[in-house]
């Protein structure tokens, strides 16, 4: 529909509105991205549960009563104090803890992923917010991003649910309720707007993180990376950290890549070829944070969200490529 045909500015606006409406209503977008996000988020929660299994009672459980005076500052409370409490029997506490791991596993596998996501989200938030000293931006990122994904359809690809639906004779519970069939535009709307909400939240995260860095002298002069590389609690591999920190060029390049990747993330997404730069840059950023700063769970939560910006074409190509490889290896 050309501008002339519909008449000037008004036509352009109504045309844009119609295109936006079609984007939101026609079909679920980025279903591959949502499925990959599901897998990454699920594995993140499983890794969290396994990594903290030996110390969970110290940070949040029956050995964490020492933090009681600080707990008074918490602005959480009901309903997040229902399941986890450091004064409940430790068996009950650990039961819910392992249930969190199980929910993460179900999410990764795509077995009733929406239910798994809601259960995992509630248990995760209830657990970590039980000690205000034991929470950081990892938890804010995980909570907010997983919350938005609860509104998306994460089951369409690479999931137990998709496999179950593809089997002959499978009947969806929705098909038995014609009322819900007529409302099938509602999940589509929620899915697509949840993706938009994830995108907007990411823009805020990266832009604010970038803007707050450019105010610092060490980010300006290209030496910022040096400091966390020499802080022991962010140094799981000291030899590697010293190797990196010892090279002035690597420190400078790493510092500037970190700033620019965050500052320009949203803008770089606008064009197809710069989008690839943006995604590779944040992949490098989060990969670096995961390995060199020992914050893989923060990185994973962020990358889970970033997956929605990779096009379904790319994922489908990847899927076909893997399928071909598997088939050549195991010829029937």
């Amino acid at each position: 529909m050309s501008l002339a045909a519909t008449g000037g500015v008004r036509g352009a606006i109504s045309d844009a509105y119609a295109r936006g409406e079609a984007w939101v209503l026609d079909e679920k977008r980025a279903t591959y991205g949502a499925s990959v996000a599901r897998i990454v988020m699920g594995l993140t929660i499983v890794a969290f549960v396994l990594a903290n299994a030996g110390v969970v009672r110290y940070h949040w459980g029956d050995a964490s009563g020492w933090a009681d005076p600080v707990r008074a500052t918490s602005n959480w409370g009901w309903p997040f104090d229902i399941v986890f409490s450091h004064t409940e029997p430790v068996g009950v506490f650990l039961l819910f803890y392992w249930l969190l791991g199980l929910a993460g596993l179900a999410l990764a596998a795509g077995c009733y992923p929406r239910i798994a996501a809601i259960v995992a989200l509630f248990l995760y938030v209830s657990l970590v917010e039980g000690n205000p000293l034991a929470v950081d931006q990892t938890d804010n990122a995980t909570r907010i991003i997983l919350f938005f994904f609860c509104f998306t359809d994460m089951s369409q690809h690479w999931s137990v649910d998709a496999w179950r639906r593809s089997r002959p004779g499978h009947k969806r519970w929705r098909d038995r309720m014609p009322v819900l069939e007529r409302l099938d535009w509602l999940p589509t709307i929620l899915h697509n707007f949840a993706l938009i909400a994830v995108a907007l939240q990411l823009f805020v995260i990266y832009t604010v993180a970038g803007l707050s860095k450019v105010q610092g002298v060490s980010w300006q002069n290209g030496t910022a990376l040096w400091y966390p590389l020499n802080v022991y609690r962010f140094e799981p591999w000291p030899a590697l950290s010293h190797l990196l920190g010892g090279n002035a060029l690597i420190v400078m390049v790493g510092t500037y890549v970190a700033v620019f990747a965050q500052l320009f993330f949203a803008l770089l997404l606008l064009a197809r070829w710069t989008r690839r730069i943006a995604l590779l840059a944040v992949l490098a950023l989060h990969g670096g944070i995961a390995i060199f700063l020992g914050l893989p769970l923060f990185s994973a939560a962020m990358l889970a969200a970033d997956t929605i910006f990779v096009s379904s074409t790319t994922y489908a190509w990847l899927e076909a490529w893997v399928r071909r490889r598997v088939q050549t290896r195991n010829p029937r």
Binding site: M1, G11, S14, A18, D26, E27, L50, A51, N52, R57, Y58, G61, A63, W66, A67, D68, A72, N75, W76, T87, V90, N131, L133, Q137, N140, R143, I144, Q156, R165, W185, L186, L190, F193, L200, Q201, V204, V208, A209, S212, K213, G216, V217, S218, W219, T223, W226, Y227, P228, N230, V231, Y232, R233, F234, E235, P236, W237, G245, G294, P296, L297
Partner: protein
């Protein structure tokens, strides 16, 4: 499912092109109206919710800009906390540039003879156990360091005259409100005194537990008794990049809190503390 839906969608779109616009109600351009009216209305409502979410998140994250004055801060707070609270000034404006440590020592009496232990660094155990050579470090990288950071900050907020109050020895088991009261009497604001007291209380509960499992009755020495504990916080700055050739910095600033009577800690499982910080712990 998606193939079937795509098919019917394409069909209805083609039908839309062929149908004269006059048969439609509403003002939308021809060929566009194929979604139920309810869906279109709900889409607008959800769009407004998402737009508000974005504006609120943006405003919350730019607390010092003109935008926040446009929205009542209280309303913004009510909406954003606790669920959407966030702070993305991470490693910024300058990244973390100091190694913090939490040290504990105790006065132990055995068979009537008292002695003072050396300093034990709780946070070194955290790094060795939870961070070093771990692909996925545990929360050990965070909790005790956050306590050090918060207590240090609360201490720094006190006027220098009040720092003498803090350094004084306290032998009564009820010393927490006593120190808080003494700080207020010295001219510290109630909020600052309360804030310091809260973190000091937590630090000494932890110190009591650690002292007990290392040197007290919980260490296996049945007749050992902890009569006093002391906490020291250290902050060792990373040497600036320009002078990195000089090697790791050896200087640090520190804050030594006063000797305190051990606190009652009913909700701290000493078995767990012993496994993490006891003499036999890794």
């Amino acid at each position: 499912m998606s193939a079937a839906r795509n098919g019917s969608r394409a069909g209805s779109a083609r039908a839309g092109e062929a149908t004269p616009a006059a048969t439609r109600s509403g003002t939308a351009p021809a060929g566009r109206r194929r979604h139920p009216r309810a869906a279109r209305i709900v889409a607008v409502i959800v769009a407004l919710v998402v737009a508000w979410q974005f504006v609120a998140t943006f405003a919350w994250n730019s607390s010092q800009t003109a935008l926040t004055s446009l929205i009542t801060l209280k309303a913004l707070d009510a909406y954003m906390t606790p669920w959407f609270q966030q702070n993305w000034s991470v490693f910024a404006p300058d990244p973390v540039d100091a190694n913090l440590s939490f040290d504990v020592r105790a006065k132990v009496s055995t068979d009537g003879t008292a002695h003072e232990t050396g300093w034990y660094t709780v946070t070194d155990a955290d790094i060795t156990r939870g961070v070093l050579h771990k692909i996925v470090p545990s929360r050990d990288y965070l909790t005790n360091f956050q306590l050090v950071d918060d207590l240090y900050t609360a201490f720094d907020a006190l006027p220098s005259s009040a720092q003498k109050v803090v350094a004084a020895q306290q032998t009564s088991p009820d010393w927490v409100p006593a120190v808080r009261g003494a700080l207020v009497k010295d001219g510290v604001t109630t909020a600052d005194a309360q804030n310091f007291s809260r973190y000091e209380d937590s630090a000494y509960r932890l110190a009591t537990a650690v002292a007990d499992v290392r040197w007290g009755a919980a260490s296996g020495a049945a007749d050992a008794r902890i009569s006093g504990v002391q906490v020291r916080l250290r902050s060792a700055p990373v040497r600036p990049f320009a002078s990195r050739a000089l090697g790791p910095s050896t200087t640090y600033s520190y804050f030594v809190d006063g000797w305190r009577a051990p606190l009652s800690i009913p909700d701290v499982n000493l078995g767990v503390i012993r496994a993490l910080y006891g003499g036999g712990a890794k």
